[in-house]
Symmetry: C2
Subunit: 364 residues, 2 copies
């Protein structure tokens, strides 16, 4: 089967010609005449990074298999074709057809997008999925991205993350003062107001910064990913839970023009596969985190600790302020935030008597 292949640079140079004018070609099975598509997908992840990066590889592999090779997607790690945090722009302007990342990376550009990844003390994975797929969240997300010529699809979730690795004990809110910590997004803003210094660093630089003492602490993802980049060798205290990211959902974004060029069956395959990856990535994390955590708990040079309740309460109060300011200054954030917090209020009551009550029951 002959297929027009666009390598990254060419795709970037030719824009969406590859999907706007797909080649009618002869497929292997049955000799039928079919349209084939070769897309590029840029990501915010190190190539084939466990969880985040592997999920995109799985996405492409599944779509190719389900479409019998009619839609081939070439994946680029962060920085390979465009920088990790320029995925949104690259897909929006049509340099590539697809991207995978997290909507809260677009903070400062589309501030309201943060609600669709995770908010400190916000919806967990199950609740976020309830909101997005059945509670009107996805419609709000699509509306928000429409001016950027983008279609967002929920695509993966890490589950509750960890609070992070610290080389200083956090016993009270005073210990946050002066703390230099790698923590992006809303969580970083909350730390800043608590007297700390949030730093933004790409994954590849975190280990060295922590080891040399350039930063006192860092959050990354959770045991599975943190062990991969060696954070357990650079800090002693591993705090939980990840109040700042209680079940971040990832996004697959598709250029609207590219999306519209797909026949209905390929659109269905893409949409369904993205939703399958949401389960699959969460399962990979649940499995990988449990294994990595066991190793960490057996490591005598590490202490796995809960944040003190006083610290959590303080961070929560600051979060309320930060969110209120965001909603006051940004009309889209006001609209989406209102829907999000109404959903949270109701979902939380249900989680309390189901998931939360069950955990309590099982432990006793």
């Amino acid at each position: 089967m002959k297929r027009r292949e666009f390598v990254g640079g060419l795709a970037a140079a030719t824009g969406l010609a590859g999907c706007a004018k797909p080649q009618a070609d002869c497929a292997a099975q049955g000799g039928e005449s079919v349209q084939t598509f070769a897309w590029s997908c840029v990501t915010s992840w190190p190539p084939k990074f466990p969880g985040l990066g592997m999920a995109v590889e799985n996405l492409a592999e599944r779509i190719e298999r389900a479409s019998a090779g009619r839609l081939k997607i070439k994946i680029y790690g962060g920085g390979e074709l465009v920088p990790a945090f320029e995925v949104f722009d690259a897909v929006s302007r049509g340099a590539v057809e697809m991207g995978h990342g997290a909507s809260y990376y677009h903070r400062g550009k589309v501030d309201a997008a943060q609600f669709f990844t995770a908010m400190p003390f916000g919806l967990n994975r199950a609740e976020l999925e309830g909101w997005l797929y059945y509670g009107g969240g996805l419609e709000l997300w699509r509306e928000l991205y429409e001016p950027f010529n983008l279609m967002p699809f929920p695509c993966g979730n890490t589950g509750v993350q960890m609070g992070g690795w610290f080389n200083k004990e956090i016993n009270s809110i005073d210990d946050l003062k002066g703390l230099k910590m790698r923590i992006p997004g809303m969580g970083g803003e909350v730390l800043r107001r608590a007297g700390g210094t949030p730093v933004i660093l790409p994954g590849a630089e975190i280990f060295t910064s922590l080891q040399t003492g350039a930063i006192d602490a860092t959050e990354w993802v959770g045991p599975y990913n943190d062990v991969t980049i060696g954070l357990h060798k650079a800090a002693k205290y591993y705090y939980y839970p990840g109040w700042q990211e209680p079940g971040p959902g990832l996004e697959c974004i598709i250029n609207r023009t590219a999306w519209d060029s797909l026949p209905a069956d390929l659109q269905a395959i893409v949409e369904i596969t993205c939703q399958s990856i949401t389960t699959d990535m969460a399962a990979e994390y649940t499995n990988g985190n449990a294994i990595a955590l066991q190793q960490l708990l057996n490591n005598p040079s590490i202490e796995v600790r809960a944040f003190p309740e006083q610290v959590i309460r303080h961070l929560k109060e600051i979060t309320t302020e930060v969110v209120a300011e965001l909603m006051a200054r940004d009309p889209a954030a006001a609209k989406i935030g209102k829907a999000y917090y109404e959903y949270l209020e109701r979902a939380e009551v249900n989680s309390r008597i189901s998931e939360q009550a069950y955990f309590h029951t099982r432990k006793n």
Copy 2:
């Protein structure tokens, strides 16, 4: 597009002829020659029942759309083609190609299959998915079903269920004695040993039995489904959590001969769509339960209550005995149970510092 259509009765009569000898036919788009398949899927659910039944409708609709009509699946509610609890046999012997239900319904026939739905005090949804997709669980499941010529696919999850509706207060383990309750599976066996009388009733008979006092209590699913069949009008006390079903996973089973007759792309579409339904059903429940629970909490004639800790501890002790006996008498259950409980032991520690710790943090 002409397509060989098998209505239920015909499919049952002709066995798998429809998929073993698919018709080469002319598809609408492009005039290519393609194989089309028309399958029947029997289920254990009332037709189009919210959650459980709708998920199968969604499964069929998505597969048809993603395959551009090459695989059409006609869904039958429980009792429409075969009785609700004969899905396993019907698919196994090839009367129909596909079924949707729960593996713990095959208790007494394939006892070890229970582990793949839910065990009292066992894996919750996230943990079950970690085990099935990344922890070796699905391989064990496929091995168990192989002698029955069946391929199982995880397909849906309700999340933690509720403990049930009671017309008697449960204040101590003595209140379980003599309790006549509709509760199937392992949960029922546990209740029996606690001095109660477990009853098995199909969904359609539960309401009347509870209202007339033929039973004192019943569990069904959770707020979303329980309100649909009106249980809140027949009992006063709504107990949580569902210790007996902490995140039951549903199954899509496919006759192996039918499965093997599909080309690789249709196999991929089926497998991916089943996994997408796992997310989708859970999202439907999370959303629907939260809405229905709010209505119940606003209803002054209902009391939503936690089981007393003493009762939970007692039920947990009995569960340990029942599971040990199952594993002692059934070699397949011994093998699968060993893998299941090793997984639970590790996963539980991870859940404690992630999901569970987060719930605690958010509440305080």
